[in-house]
Symmetry: C2
Amino acid sequence: MKNIVLASKSLDRGEIFKRANIPFEVMVTNIDEDEYKKEISNPIELVKQLANAKALNAKKKLAQENKEAIIVAADTIVELDGVIIGKANDEEHAFRILKKLVGKPHNLITGIAVTETYNPKIILDHDSTSVTFLDLTDKEIWDYIASGEWQGRAGAYSIREKASLFIEAIQGSSSNVIGLPMSKFYQILKKEFNQILL
Amino acid sequence: MKNIVLASKSLDRGEIFKRANIPFEVMVTNIDEDEYKKEISNPIELVKQLANAKALNAKKKLAQENKEAIIVAADTIVELDGVIIGKANDEEHAFRILKKLVGKPHNLITGIAVTETYNPKIILDHDSTSVTFLDLTDKEIWDYIASGEWQGRAGAYSIREKASLFIEAIQGSSSNVIGLPMSKFYQILKKEFNQILL
């Protein structure tokens, strides 16, 4: 197996690879995400272009270091009715976001980009997982907000932490929910780069 | 919030509580699971009865120690076409199990029992999550088996480890897949024991 470089500083993504016993190195990229977010309003297109930019950034650095590797980059957003739901600025904002997410499924969409240091081929794909909350009262939403878990989280919640208490169901890839659609990655490596990760 | 006792030595279940920032104590129970498995062939009935037995066992110990607590117990099995899929005895057996699970969704069913030390009420419920594998070749199944991950696992795979590479989708509770249906637990505590866990 070739070396794998994960172009993401997300601890959750790293944990998925570690659990799967896949050796990898982390490369932090410097992309102006806000610029992309201003220009691209389509959620799927946005995450694919962000993943693409991160992968190309890592690819350039690896070429400068003469390091051959498979590069994987990803970006995840929360989407409801075609609109991107970002992070909350304060508790009132977190309440408005969570109130919208109660009683109606929303999607976690991850864009993934896979390439190699010396291979012009780059594959862009995405995976989408639907998430359904329990029906929460306003008081329950405020109780959750008091935990502070909403801070810095797209959609103002964290599925594997306290919010697990009110995630009724998901539909789609379970690793995608944590930020890395593993079966997509497996299939891309197999079909496009002739590598079997098992 | 009352003390919570988790009547399970499963590290995965404990991790779910820890991530959700729910204080709890673990109590290991001694139940003859094989006896239940011999007598009960219905998968849902089996996991509910196993959870019930674990909860009652913990309840008895807690009463002896004069410790008031909310007790939660759970048991998870893999089910395909109404039949319980157990653990594999050897690599050939693991292959036959995984071969069956490829190309057809199966269910992870968890039985949950919730009670309190000095409360005669005990609530039994279950949650079911459907899991769909990618279509794997025989060679890919054998490659996976070589990792040894099949050992000691119901269904001969571990969804959060290497098997994440070929889990195409799940449908249902994501915490249930790891052994504890958190939204069920939340609802039972709220409706039956008047406790809000948030």
